[in-house]
Amino acid sequence: MKLAFHLAYKNLMGAGLRTWLNAGVLSFAFVVIIFYNGLIDGWNEQAKIDGINWDYGYGHLLNDAYDAYDPFSIEDGHGILAKDKQENLTPILIQQGNIYPNGRMMATRIKGIDPNQKILRLPTELLNSSKAQIPVIIGKRMAESAKVKMGDELLLRWRDKNGTYDATTVTIAGIFDSTVPFVDGGQIWMSIDQLREMTLLQNETTYLVANENYEHVETSGWNFESQKYLMREQTKLINTKKISGSILYGVLMTLGLLAIFDTQVLSIFRRQKEIGTYIALGMTRWQVVRMFTAEGGMYSVFATILGAIYGIPILWYLAAKGIGFGGMGSDMGVIISERTYPVYGLGLIFGTILVVVLSATIVSFMPARKIARMNPIDALKGKVQ
């Protein structure tokens, strides 16, 4: 095998530009595959971190009657959880209401949270520090859609537990910027005590966010959703993106491998006399097959080297500077940072190298098998069709 690689290397180096053209095409596929997967992995990683920081925490303990995907469950989806069972949990109460920014009516969810909580990155401390009578914080996108800014006052209308409408003025004490749409669009955050008082839902909670020390114990009337479960939609989306990405790099790989296959077929046809000479000089047919296969496989090694030469600086730069998506993900209901930083794991890099090398070797072997059936005399005469 050493001999096959030795000879293959000499032949490829001797072939000059043709070798580097093939290696170039394959290296492009190689770099794009690593970049695209790195981007998806980076997005996935950031989305997980952002999701945990802004919404998921270490899981949610939900009232049995509450379904996050069913707005009709908000009215009755709350209950009282015993104080001793709230250790390492931050309670959140959700109610429905309307705000009237600039005279317009906007349906909103009113979320009450402990202003002293440290689990989520929501700047709830602003609810304590504000001098306003009823301070609220909202997300950047909510502020944009409602056309309100810091310090603005809004009329808030809601129904208490008896169904009685009430209204008051709330003040925007803070506008936060989050990549997580579930804590931003169509909602305002206020102190949970304030909300409980307003709605007469004393000690009631819709769900509780767990911190890293929380250990779940089955509690009647409450249902625990783990971090992984909460991330399922995002994970599904990322997996879908990976599949669609695999189509892209499937096409790129096919182009690269087709170039190698084509070169090999042509090479075997054009180099018949050379093949005959190798056999006449004492190589076995399978040694020649191995040499041609090694030549094809070596394209992928050259592609790796070439890809590393121009790919590493580009990928490095993109990993350091990130790629701006302008927060478009939040508008689509998915977690995407303003800038996504691709992550290139060793598994991704070595996995891709392995796939490229194996595929190139297989497509090289396919035409090279013909040599094993070649008559050396016909080959010497260049008469093999």
């Binding site: 030795h6 050379e274 056999i279 006449a280 399978w286």
Partner: protein, 235 residues
């Protein structure tokens, strides 16, 4: 008594042509001794190259046998015949068949790489072979930079570098001018004398015949004449 290194007995070679068969060699009974400088001559299509290919274990007889250096060709596997060629037989072709991406040195070195010889041993042997053919100063040149005569001399060095018992030369002077042809033949004759290597030519070139000690004439696949001759040119 001299050692017979090639023996053919009732050798027949047929090739399929359309629905029938073409008999390229018919009932060939020949033997060649070690150190001979012989030629198979005859017109085109007489079966010279076919016989040479069978002796070189690139092909096998349809009937009868060919025994080369004690090996019955039809009994050899691909691997065994490759080993026989690699270790004991050198080939010289009409169009040199040098490997285009290798230098002169690497072309000559190739056979020794196949024999898994050490780098030091290879270098010594290659330089010696290039010296035999007077190309020691062209070791780094690519075949495309060589003249026809130089190319064929590289081919001789490549065939001789492993010091084979037998060298098969198929029309080695067909692409050379008279001056180069004589130079090549003198080189081969010298190597034949110095190393006692058996040379078997396939040729219809009069210049080659002038150097040979034995002429086996084939006519339509059969031995027409087998004469020991006095070569015109001695070395």
């Amino acid at each position: 008594m001299s050692e017979k290194i090639i023996i053919t007995e009732n050798l027949v070679k047929r090739f399929p042509v359309g629905d029938g068969e073409f008999t390229a060699l018919n009932n060939i009974n020949l033997s060649f001794e070690k150190g001979e400088f012989s030629g198979i001559i005859g017109p085109s299509g007489s079966g010279k190259t076919t016989l040479l290919n069978i002796i070189g274990s690139l092909d096998s007889p349809t009937e009868g046998s060919a025994t080369v250096l004690g090996h019955r060709i039809s009994d050899l596997s691909h691997k065994e015949s490759a080993f026989l060629r690699n270790m004991h037989i050198g080939f010289i072709f009409q169009v040199y068949n040098l490997l285009p991406v290798y230098t002169v040195f690497e072309n000559v070195e190739f056979a020794l790489i196949l024999q898994k010889r050490s780098a030091t041993e290879r270098k010594k042997a290659v330089m010696q072979a290039l010296e035999w053919v007077g190309l020691e100063n062209m070791a780094d040149k690519k075949p495309s930079k060589l003249s026809g005569g130089e190319g064929q001399r590289v081919a001789i060095a490549r065939a001789m570098v492993k010091r084979p018992e037998l060298v098969l030369a198929d029309e080695p002077t067909a692409n050379l001018d008279a001056k180069n042809a004589h130079a090549i033949l003198k080189t081969m004759k010298t190597l034949n004398k110095e190393l006692n290597t058996t040379f078997l030519f396939s040729t219809h070139d009069e210049k080659v015949m002038d150097y040979l000690n034995r002429l086996v004439r084939l006519e339509d696949g059969e031995v027409d004449k087998d004469d020991i001759v006095q070569p015109k040119y001695m070395v």
